[in-house]
């Protein structure tokens, strides 16, 4: 069915070109131009020549194929219109797929980068938070591990306000030996943090490695003193010992509280 018409169209167009050498109308119909190389018979080409046919028909006012023209356009017209409206739809669908694909890919890449454990740890990257933790931990260690038999108030207050969770029991265990004899031995323990480093900050939790110096003075009697991390060999004289431990701290109401005391199995 399309073949004779096709043939006819070509003939007519050739004639039109011969009559009018200026290729003006062709530039208006790029679809027709594109159809030129693959003009082999097939479903794809069926509609396209019609466009040319129409163009040619317009130019060819004296053409004798009027009857043909009145019959042919009806069906291919809707075909052509459908195709013309289908093209943007296809383009939109492809764009949607491309953009959606990119979005998915970018999402997974971003997720991969964010899941990097290095990024979750803000120690040092958040300098303000890091120094805040170091400062508060040093103060907490000094308060928690210093003891004066003459004035036990600060020690007890520190134990009540700076500890939470497991650390309460751990702190009690560490000091049980000292406390049982403190009054008799007149023990004075002073702890100062010499070095500390924040290992990890994860939101409201952090882990701090602490090096501390402990001086222990027993002004009377003999026996043990020290926070379980030292054993003085002499009495009535200051004994220095270096301690190292790690603290897990949690942030509660703007303050960092000690939640766990890790003495590395000592």
């Amino acid at each position: 069915m399309p073949t004779p018409r096709h043939h006819l169209n070509r003939q007519r167009r050739r004639q039109a070109l011969a009559d009018q050498p200026a290729p003006a109308p062709r530039t208006h119909s790029p679809v027709g131009l594109l159809s030129e190389p693959d003009s082999a018979p097939g479903r794809r080409t069926a509609a396209k020549p019609v466009r040319e046919a129409r163009g040619a028909a317009k130019e060819d006012t004296a053409g004798g194929a009027r009857a043909e023209e009145t019959v042919a356009p009806a069906r291919p017209e809707t075909d052509r219109a459908g195709r013309r409206h289908l093209a943007p739809l296809v383009i939109l669908c492809l764009l949607t797929l491309l953009l959606g694909g990119f979005a998915g890919w970018a999402h997974s890449r971003a997720g991969e980068l964010r899941d990097d454990p290095a990024r979750g740890n803000t120690a040092l990257t958040d300098l303000a938070r890091t120094s805040e933790i170091k400062g508060q931990t040093a103060a907490a260690v000094a308060a928690l591990f210093s003891y004066d038999h003459a004035d036990t108030g600060p020690f007890e207050r520190a134990g009540k306000t700076l500890l939470t969770g497991r650390a309460v029991e751990q702190h009690r265990t560490l000091f049980s030996g000292v406390l049982s004899q403190a009054a008799r031995q007149k023990t004075v323990i002073t702890t100062t943090v010499t070095d500390s480093a924040v290992e990890r900050i994860d939101g409201d939790r952090a882990r701090v490695l602490v090096y501390a110096d402990q001086s222990s003075v027993s002004t009377a009697g003999n026996g043990k003193a020290g926070g379980g991390k030292q054993k003085p060999k002499t009495q009535d004289q200051g004994v220095y010992a270096g301690a190292m431990f790690a603290l897990d701290v949690v942030r509660r109401d703007g303050r960092w509280l000690v939640e766990n005391i890790d003495t590395f199995g000592r």
């Binding site: 809707t78 669908c93 764009l95 959606g100 290095a118 740890n121 290992e199 001086s215 220095y240």
Partner: protein, 180 residues
């Protein structure tokens, strides 16, 4: 003509839906692309990665320098030298022969385990870092007696050729006059 109108009218809702979908997809693409870009160009993330690299290298180096088997001294000391740079490296190279004979006569096997470690300072650009490493050292003497000792190490790292190496290592001093 009427047919053409109906055809395009029948297409219009589909087109509208497709357009909306495309816009939504475009929105997602823009959003995800932006978040991906932000994640990939995050300075603090690069700094954090550098911190973790320095810490890993530092802990390994400190452990290496506290590990030595008298039966494989040369191998051990080679490892010491590759783990260090700068002044510390020179010291190790200079004292190598003396140290080798010492270890061979003492016949000790020293192993170390890192209990905990953390970076205290990191200068990303200069390639310098300081770290604390809590170490447990086990020394085994020829009579199979082993003693454990905890060490509070302070290390200094320098980045050379993209690799973090120890440029200084010492123990944290214990305050006052007495030494632990």
């Amino acid at each position: 003509m009427t047919r053409q109108v109906r055809a395009s009218a029948g297409n219009r809702p589909a087109l509208a839906v497709a357009l909306v979908l495309t816009l939504v997809a475009g929105g997602f693409a823009a959003w995800e692309g932006r978040s991906w870009y932000a994640a990939a160009h995050d300075d603090s993330a690069a700094y954090a990665a550098q911190r973790d690299r320095a810490l890993a290298a530092g802990e390994q180096a400190v452990q290496n320098l506290n590990t030595l088997d008298h039966r494989r001294v040369d191998q051990g000391l080679d490892l010491w030298e590759t783990s260090t740079t700068g002044e510390l490296h020179e010291q190790l190279v200079d004292g190598r022969t003396e140290f080798t004979s010492q270890v061979k006569t003492a016949k000790t096997v020293t192993t170390a385990r890192v209990l905990s470690g953390a970076v205290t300072e990191l200068d990303d650009r200069a390639g310098r870092a300081r770290l604390l490493v809590a170490l447990r050292i086990t020394v085994t003497t020829p009579d199979s007696k082993s003693t454990e000792k905890d060490s509070r190490m302070l290390g200094e790292l320098t980045r050379t050729d993209g690799q973090w190496k120890l440029s200084a290592l010492g123990q944290a001093p214990v305050g006052g006059t007495a030494t632990g």
